[in-house]
């Protein structure tokens, strides 16, 4: 007898719950979508986002701390001299390796390396994923 009751209970429950479920999707059909049309509409990036770095070469004192703290050694730093007089030849970050962990920015005593709001870095070769910050700064200076 219980089996028979369960049988009819199941049928009724199936119809009832399916109807409720249909109501949920129907409600959503008429609400506004939440997705963005990505390349056209770009997401709003909050302050303090951990994206691709920005580097202020004039502040850098070549203390090498960011290179040491980096868990995967993706930062290459080449310089002459010391402290404020240091001449920085090379400050490359390899974004094929970078963990975006923010440790390099936290350890910097002069606050010269930050993480910016850029987040899309796609390229055809691995070499293009290495960003030479020092060179870029030099080019900017010339202009």
């Amino acid at each position: 007898m219980r089996a028979v009751a369960n049988y009819f209970r199941d049928i009724v429950a199936a119809i009832y719950t399916i109807t409720l479920g249909l109501g949920v999707t129907m409600k959503c059909l008429f609400s506004k979508p939440v997705t963005l049309q990505y390349p056209d509409e770009r997401p709003e990036v909050p302050d303090g986002y951990r994206g691709i770095h920005t580097y202020e070469i004039e502040k850098c004192i070549a203390c090498n701390l960011c290179v040491q703290i980096c868990p995967i050694t993706c930062i290459t730093l080449a310089y002459e001299g010391k402290g404020k007089n240091a001449v920085i030849h090379q400050y490359d970050i390899d974004y094929t390796k970078c963990l975006f962990c923010h440790l390099c920015c936290e350890v910097c005593p002069t606050d010269c390396v930050h993480m910016g709001k850029e987040f899309d870095l796609a390229s055809y070769t691995r070499a293009e994923c290495v960003i030479p910050f020092a060179k870029a700064a030099a080019v900017q200076k010339q202009e």
Binding site: I18, V24, V34, P46, P71, F100
Partner: protein, 373 residues
């Protein structure tokens, strides 16, 4: 005639590339028609030897790596590792930092359970729950993004505290999220949890009795789904969890037998709600103060060893840390909850249907990044 009518068992490779293996898991199933006679699990496709990496990095440097173990719940992982190190180094964590860690961990737990909700729905054939789960997760991720600047690998809990303090804007957003999530939760249940077809697919499928669950070392929702009332947040509190009021859900066999897939699923759903409660309490009672404790610049741990376990969304995440007094761990062992949970798969995937294997795997809810480490 007898020879002609003979049937054969088929050996099928489910994965490493298969829509429902949650990453790169390979299940070899021996089937007789639709019946699965035996399941054999192959793992290791995502092995990075995180433990060896840990031996070669300083404690501070290894924290971002813990993000990548269970990538759906990285704050929980950070928390576990930081607690293990702080335990051994006797670092004092300020109260505000501990509160913020709890908040981050609970947010991450919700985000992780939302993914689990969506993927289990998808494995049952319903696509829409997946998108609903991700819709709310997106809101949550946007908040965490404001907290720490990243969207997946948060690296929020640091040795001695947390990365950043929260702003009033984040607090407002979080309260807003808690409100919407409570409404959506009801919607989720209407759409999937109490759908008769879904109940029929999950109830009485993949039953794990209490003893079997403990014996196989299951933890987290899988253990609680089998009716064991055990939650490290409640029973072995860490990071000031004892100050928050919440209940621990456990499987009661409401739709079938205790320990079936529906129970495990339902534990996760109720945990979402409990986590919302904890988040509200954190926001209400957030003490003032610093967010970073005193951590020496070069951190050296005393000789000794510690095993610290925390309640990850998937279960007991343990960090066994052996220190020889240096700046790097001598040995670091990570007990991934997914690893132990998955080990029951060989025992469960017997004498069931092909569709059940998929549901069982979904209800165990593994993250392969943590299984393979």
């Amino acid at each position: 005639m007898q020879d002609f009518l003979q049937t054969e068992e088929i050996l099928v490779n489910m994965g490493p590339q298969h829509p429902s293996t949650h990453g790169v898991l390979r299940l070899v199933i021996r089937t007789d028609g639709e019946m699965v006679r035996e399941t054999y699990t192959h793992i290791g496709y995502l092995h990075r030897c995180a433990e060896k990496i840990g031996e070669n990095l300083t404690y501070k440097q290894f924290v971002p790596y813990t993000d990548r173990l269970d990538y759906l719940a990285s704050i929980n992982n950070n928390l576990g590792f930081c607690l293990a190190v702080e335990n051994l180094a006797q670092i004092e964590v300020p109260e505000r930092a501990a509160y913020l860690r709890v908040m981050g961990a609970e947010m991450n737990r919700i985000a992780s359970h939302l993914v689990s909700y969506g993927t289990l729905g998808m494995e049952a054939g319903a696509f829409t729950p997946f998108f609903y789960g991700f819709r709310e997760r997106e809101q949550l991720v946007a908040i965490i993004e404001k907290m720490c600047g990243a969207r997946l690998t948060y690296h929020y809990a640091r040795l001695g505290g947390v990365m950043r303090d929260i702003t009033p804007e984040i607090a407002r957003d979080t309260r807003e999220f808690v409100r919407t999530m409570e409404q959506r939760w009801e919607e989720y249940n209407t759409l999937l949890s109490f759908n008769e077809i879904f109940i029929k697919r999950t109830a009485n499928v993949g039953i794990i009795p209490r003893d079997m669950a403990i014996g196989y070392g299951l933890t987290g929702p899988c253990l609680r789904g089998s009716g064991v009332e055990w939650d490290l947040r409640k029973d072995d509190p860490y990071s000031l969890y004892e100050r928050f009021a919440f209940t621990v859900p456990y499987g009661d066999g409401r739709m079938g037998t205790v320990g079936d897939s529906w129970d495990r699923y339902w534990v996760r759903m109720v945990e979402i709600k409990e986590s919302l409660k904890i988040i509200t309490q954190v926001l209400d009672g957030l003490p003032e103060g610093p967010i970073m404790g005193k951590v020496p610049r070069v951190l050296k741990l005393p000789v000794g060893e510690a095993y610290m376990r925390v309640e990850n969304p998937r279960g007991e995440l343990g960090f066994y840390l052996v220190s020889d007094g240096g700046t790097k761990p001598y040995r670091l062992r990570i007990r991934g909850p997914s690893f132990c949970n998955l080990s029951i798969m060989n025992a469960l995937g017997r004498e069931c249907l092909v569709a059940d294997v998929v549901m069982i795997l979904g209800s165990i809810d593994v993250v392969l990044g943590e299984v393979d480490r």
